[in-house]
Amino acid sequence: MAERLLTVKGLSTHFFTHAGVVKAVNGVSFTLDRGETIGIVGESGSGKTVAAMSLMRLIPDPPGKVVEGSLMLRDRDLRTISDAEMRHVRGNDIAMIFQDPMTSLNPVMKVGKQIAEAIMLHQDKGKAEAWQMAADLLARVGIPDADKRVDQYPFEFSGGMRQRAMIAMAISCNPDVLIADEPTTALDVTIQAQIIDVVREMQAQYDSGVILITHDLGVIAEMSDKVMVMYGGRTVEYGPVDEIFYNPHHPYTWGLLASLPRLDETEKSRLTPIKGQPPNLITLPPGCPFTPRCPYRRAQCRDIWPKLEVVGPEHGVHCWIPVGERVAIRAGLPHFKEPAV
């Protein structure tokens, strides 16, 4: 049994704005073990990033606040430790790779310094040593001429190289948990694959637990051990990656999978979008946030949040449709007619 790194229970993060309370994350729970990768998937505004930022305690307060839940890093409660302790956790125990490498690096500071800074802070190394380690890290994430590159500024790096530099920065202190927030979204498709490889290699090397936030199910399929599907700040389905792809139970998960282009589609056909608009997080219904867009909604869906229903090994879903009916509906959907194996 691998070491349990993270235990998140009932996490709710809200933003208190003039327009009203934005309920960005509502009662999200998950765990992460050493060497494991959990994919958090959902559309923009589903609460993926806010959930991760809550773990780092980087939610701007005000207006944001973690209003409920427990966040345990091994046996440490991330909600109650002091700011100084939290700073020690950031970068050292939990590190983060951000979405846009073009803006996530300080434009007027040398790349080497931006990496060395974290090393000097957390590992009690001198400047020269930290600088050398920064160069080594750049080489390790696949940047050629690392000794020269370490002395350059971000604008001298391409997008893919900047993301590699971000990864170097994130792994510089050998963190237990690595949060990758849409690490490939801003990059070219060819570069995306390389970056995923780098993240995977680094995970293997350091045996970190990885939280992968993305709306790209392809990336999820390639990297994750388990998947959490989020919608409107709630976890609607949760399970091992194969279960989510081959035995999905929530109508939103069906929609996500059906919206993927398929290579085995012979005739010209349009992609299948999920009809309707993403929910307004201020006026969320007390029940299932997907209700307005769900073609199979019931009377109680809007008002009562369904309890977790276990439908497979470590596979849970929150949905009011009875399980038998669900399987029958799914079998009738074009995307799921033949198992996509």
């Binding site: 970068g91 983060m96 846009d100 996530s104 007027v108």
Partner: protein, 318 residues
């Protein structure tokens, strides 16, 4: 880099010629005849005509301009129509007075930088609102209103400070006696405080914008202390645009704080130009404006070079 500087200096020469042409043209367009002013009150038409001929004022515009530029190329800015003194000498005398005030005012306005940062870090608190409101009010006061007000309070009512004039200096611009320092206080504060308001306002906006950027989040995610995030990552990015403003201000102020120098009766470039305009002293106005333009363009060049120095992304194209 060298090529860039040379090119910019050549551009400066072109700008200066343009400025002389425009100044000359404008002085010909405005009503009033310098010959009448020169000949003195109640002079006979013959006297006026002879003065006009003597000074070459009866020649066509382009001839007058050509003569002026020709002399200019020999380093001769001409003579004052009024006092017959060489304009070059007048500028040499007036410039240190103006530079002293400009440097002092810019040094004071730099106080706006910490104030702006302070405001930004405490956005929407009492002190932020107080500073921002105060800055806006101060910024809205015309310099002559603030100047006369300060003179009235600190000069006349309280009698703490002299209301005008200048004192002895070392190295041309540094006041050498307490009395000399005291003459600088009111004009420098008047000019400086208004700019402090502007600078702090800009610094606040710039700091707030930077603090929302992604790389600040990255810096926090590394576990850096708030102080390092703010000063190590935020400040350098936020101060660049503000330094530009301060640099250009220095150029503008050296060009002559006409109003301030007039209010405080400081014999600098501004007062010189003001008096020359009143007496239609063409050569002095042209010389003064030339001097002002030179420093304005030169300060811009220095700002651009400074930019390249603090911001690695800026590479000056050769």
């Amino acid at each position: 880099m060298i090529a860039y500087i040379i090119r910019r200096l050549l551009q400066l020469v072109i700008v200066l010629f343009g400025v002389t042409l425009i100044t000359f043209g404008m002085l010909k367009l405005v009503p009033g005849d310098p010959a009448v002013a020169l000949a003195g009150k109640g002079a006979s038409p013959e006297k006026i005509a002879s003065v006009r001929h003597e000074r070459g004022l009866d020649r066509p515009f382009y001839v007058q301009y050509y003569k002026y530029v020709e002399r200019l190329l020999h380093g001769d800015l001409g003579e004052s129509l009024y006092s017959s003194r060489p304009v070059g000498e007048m500028i040499r005398e007036a410039a240190p007075v103006t530079i002293q005030l400009a440097v002092a005012a810019v040094l004071i306005e730099l106080l706006g930088i910490p104030l702006g940062v302070y405001s930004a870090l405490r956005q929407y608190t009492f002190w932020d609102t107080a500073l921002t409101t105060g800055a806006l009010i101060l910024w809205g006061i015309p310099v002559f209103v603030l100047g006369y007000f300060a003179m009235y309070i600190f000069g006349l009512k309280l009698d703490w400070l002299p209301i005008g004039g200048v004192g002895p200096t070392v190295l041309g611009i540094i006041p050498s006696t307490p009395a000399s320092w005291s003459t600088l206080v009111l004009p420098a504060l008047t000019l400086g405080l208004i700019e402090v308001a502007y600078i702090s306002y800009m610094q606040r906006a710039s700091m707030l914008e930077v603090s929302r950027s992604d790389f600040i989040r990255t810096a926090r995610a590394k576990g850096l202390t708030e102080r390092k995030v703010v000063w190590g990552h935020g400040f350098k990015n936020a101060v660049i645009p503000v330094m530009t403003i301060a640099g250009i201000d220095l150029g503008v102020l050296i060009g002559g704080a006409i109003i301030t120098e007039t209010v405080f009766n400081r014999p600098g470039i501004g007062l010189m130009i003001y008096q020359a305009i009143n007496s239609r002293d063409t050569a002095v106005i042209a010389g003064g404006v030339l001097f002002a333009t030179f420093f304005f363009v030169f300060a811009n060049l220095l700002v651009d070079l400074g930019y390249a120095w603090v911001d690695p992304r800026v590479r000056l194209e050769d």
